[in-house]
């Protein structure tokens, strides 16, 4: 979607500056976080993709059919696609990919969960891969569109994790050439490339000769480097930078909110005081974030009233539930028995102060968001909530969650499709994994909701599915365990010389297949 026209120029090296953490492993099967998805999109491809309208479109799979009962899916692969090591893409590679993700030794989390219902893959022929499922999965195609389930060469996987992590072998337009830890990954053009997704602007190899993928953790330096022309594209552009860039008018912005859940606060309904819905509602009524979002995000983020990202077609909003109303909050607290007020102005019940623990991961929340949390703290205090924000490093933050030492928490989750709701709010997700991990941080335990979510995830009827998810979201928002804030922010700034770059509509990662550098 380059506005500036002209013929694409061949060649050149694009310098991409990423503010996300440097991946530990370039193979997104291993673990599976967003930074991996960002870069893996350049050298790995998925079976299907999603177009601008949210429709599933062909990619490595040219066609797919499901059985009547939804328990068996056949994917037909494109002809004549080759991995960067020269070997042809076959159904065996799809099988190897799924087995790799499902192998506990791989340590996949995102991909592993997304394939929860897949019991196996069978190579029916060289070009047809058959997925068998334990239950119908309405989210299967959405799951398969994600970079964490991208197809890798069986031979590549067979090299073992350590080697595969350094340079996974895929079919993408670029190939990992070298990885200088803590500095950059050099990607070079895949000269044999012939498998663009259905919505690509051209065919054949990429225009760019190479991508220099650098890790620039500091946002101010990232923007300075873009201004100095040292880099062509930056991600994680901060709100103030975006505002400055918009004023300067010398950069192109790509705003690509991530799919899945919105950025939201979850209230831990599993223990006091938030096991009382009145107190939860009181909190949500007391907190005022709208002005803060405007100021802190310089108008680059829009307030959300939905548990789902605005890019999710099935998202459901209800603004009325989140009206700021201090009087209502105080009334609710009175009703819940928090009637006394201590010297510091905090509510007290049975000699106990209305205190909320709010662990914040400094690795995951940007400064603007941390400031917003302080405003949450300040506005909640007006109603008599004492919010204790503790900034923690990643491990300690998870530690606090696992040991149930939190009342309020913000934990973004990216996944294509509304099925993310099942992961985040099904009561099964309250049971921690052996690692201590559990996704239902609101600890929402509602059998009816569970039923709705299970049903929706197996329903192959689009309308029924939409209705079920709407109802489920209504229940979730109505439980006052969630305070939506805004979409998971994902802004890219590009120098004017960069043409034809776009974000892919799956998990909003940038794609440089069509990109070229003018001048």
């Amino acid at each position: 979607q380059s506005s500036a026209g002209g013929e694409p120029v061949e060649g050149g090296t694009l310098v991409y500056a990423s503010g996300d953490a440097e991946p530990d492993c370039l193979d997104p099967h291993v673990g599976g976080n967003y930074p991996q998805a960002l870069i893996a999109g350049q050298y790995l491809e998925s079976l299907v993709s999603i177009d601008e309208d949210g429709e599933i479109i062909p990619w490595l799979a040219s066609d797919w059919t499901s059985s009547e009962d939804g328990l068996s899916w056949d994917f037909t692969l494109q002809d004549d696609v080759r991995f960067s090591d020269g070997s042809p893409l076959t159904a065996a590679d799809v099988k190897a990919t799924v087995e790799h993700i499902q192998d506990p030794a791989t340590g996949s989390s995102t991909g592993y969960l997304a394939l929860g219902k897949v019991t196996g893959v069978e190579a029916v022929s060289d070009t047809v891969a058959r997925f068998t499922l334990s239950a119908p999965d309405s989210a299967l195609l959405e799951s398969l569109s994600m970079p964490w389930l991208a197809i890798e060469s069986a031979a590549g996987i067979a090299r073992g994790i350590d080697e595969n992590c350094l340079a996974p072998i895929g079919t993408g337009p670029f190939v990992v050439d070298e990885w200088v830890k803590q500095d950059r990954v050099s990607l070079v053009r895949n000269e044999e490339y012939n498998s663009p997704p259905a919505d690509a602007a051209h065919s054949g190899p990429a225009h760019l000769e190479a991508i220099d993928w650098r890790f620039l953790p500091d946002s101010a330096s990232r923007y300075a480097a873009l201004q100095a022309g040292q880099v062509d594209v930056i991600d994680n552009a901060q709100p103030d930078t975006l505002a400055a860039a918009a004023d300067a008018g010398t950069f192109t912005e790509i705003d690509a909110p991530r799919p899945g859940a919105s950025n939201r606060l979850e209230l831990n309904s599993g223990k006091a005081p938030f096991n009382d819905p009145f107190v939860r509602e009181a909190f949500i009524r007391a907190v005022d974030v709208n002005d803060g979002i405007d100021a802190l995000f310089f108008g680059t983020a829009e307030r959300s009233y939905s548990a789902l990202s605005s890019v999710e077609p099935l998202g459901y909003s209800d603004e009325a539930l989140f009206d700021h109303d201090l009087d209502a909050a105080e009334a609710l607290l009175d009703e819940a028995g928090w009637t006394e007020t201590d010297a510091d102005g905090y509510r007290v019940k049975n000699g106990e102060r209305l205190s909320l623990a709010f662990p914040v991961s400094t690795n995951q929340s940007i400064p603007a968001e941390q400031s917003l949390f302080e405003q949450v703290q300040a506005t909640a205090a007006e109603a008599g909530f004492e919010v204790t924000i503790s900034p923690l490093d990643l491990s300690s933050w998870y530690g606090a969650l696992f040991s149930n030492d939190y009342d309020v928490v913000s934990a973004p989750y990216t996944k294509v499709g509304p099925d993310v709701l099942r992961i985040l709010y099904h009561s099964a997700s309250i049971t921690p994994a052996p690692s201590g991990y559990f996704a239902n941080l609101a600890q929402l335990n509602d059998p009816e909701l569970d039923a709705l979510l299970s049903q929706a995830s197996s329903s192959l009827d689009a309308d029924e599915r939409a209705a079920l998810y709407a109802e489920a979201q209504e229940r979730i928002l109505g439980s006052f365990t969630v305070l939506p804030l805004y979409d998971q922010q994902n802004h890219f700034l590009l120098g004017k010389q960069v043409q034809g770059a776009r974000a892919i509509n799956t998990v909003s990662t940038p794609n440089f297949y069509d990109a070229w550098l003018s001048e």
């Binding site: 101010a220 100021a295 802190l296 941390q370 703290q377 924000i389 900034p391 491990s395």
Partner: protein, 282 residues
């Protein structure tokens, strides 16, 4: 008969007995800080934690002398209310660092035959352990907070102090006056207390006064790594690191807390000097 004065060689020192302008200013600033510590409400112009998102990022003005921050809070009032926390970190961390450093240095320099190897090596181990890791460990183990930050900063600056003091001590312990004191039969504790430490004190004083500012800066570095003071506590170092994000758009967020740190350092140095001048004369 014309009497002409010969110029002195070195730029003359200020005449005695008169208080210097610098000392006076430093004293006034110290008083101001003291007031800000004890009666922040009287010194500040607003509630430091009162947010007003609509007024965020407004520059210095008569209503907000130091402007407002990203949440519309009054930066001046936050600076005032941050004084106590910052000075606590500055003073306590420096005290911890210096006292520990002093003990380590004395052990290292006067460990004696028996202690020589073990004590010296133990001290070296502490020196060799990266200060940053020490700080991180303390925070990770004890959780963030002003006390933790103070201890972390104190611990991680101690080796530096120890190193300087030790160098100083080694020079002094072989000096003629220490020998003279030994010949008089004075016990080591007395020699240490009356000759060695006081003479090592001049650079130590500089260290101490510098240390106040540096400790606050150290704490701000911890904030930069996301492990500083607990929000919404106003503390200069945390304000600095929070304001850094907006250095291009709202310079006042970093400049004023930074200025306070620098002024505090300068004032404490000037006062420290004045004190030693007075002490040295009596």
């Amino acid at each position: 008969m014309s009497e002409l004065e010969l110029r002195g060689v070195v730029a003359g020192h200020a005449p005695r007995g008169r208080i210097r302008v610098g000392t006076l200013l430093a004293g006034l600033f110290a008083l101001y800080l003291l007031a800000a510590c004890l009666f922040p409400d009287a010194v500040a112009t607003a509630d430091p934690n009162q947010i007003a998102p609509k007024e965020a990022f407004s520059g210095p003005s008569p209503a907000h002398w130091f402007g407002t921050d990203e949440s519309g809070r009054d930066v001046y009032s936050r600076v005032v209310f941050g004084t106590a926390n910052s000075l606590l970190i500055g003073l306590a961390a420096t005290a911890i660092g210096l006292v520990l450093g002093l003990i380590l240095a004395v052990l290292a320099a006067f460990g004696g035959r028996f202690f020589d190897f073990t004590v010296n090596r133990t001290v070296e181990v502490l020196f060799a352990f990266p200060g940053l890791l020490l700080a991180l460990l303390v925070i990770v183990i004890a959780g963030p907070g002003p006390v933790t930050a103070t201890i972390a900063v104190g611990l991680s600056t101690a080796p530096g102090y120890a190193r300087i003091i030790r160098g100083q001590l080694i020079g002094i312990r072989s000096s003629g006056y220490v020998e003279a004191a030994r010949v008089l039969g004075h016990p080591p504790s007395r020699i240490l207390g009356r000759h060695i430490l006081p003479n090592a004190l001049a650079p130590l004083l500089v260290l101490a006064t510098l240390g106040i500012g540096q400790a606050i800066v150290w704490a701000s570095a911890l904030s930069f790594l996301g492990l500083g003071a607990l929000p919404p506590t106003a503390e200069w170092g945390a304000m600095l690191s929070a304001g850094r994000t907006y250095i291009g758009t709202a310079w006042w967020l970093t400049v004023f807390p930074g200025l306070m740190i620098v002024l505090t350092t300068v004032a404490s140095t000037v006062l420290g000097r004045a004190l030693t001048r007075i002490g040295g004369r009596s």
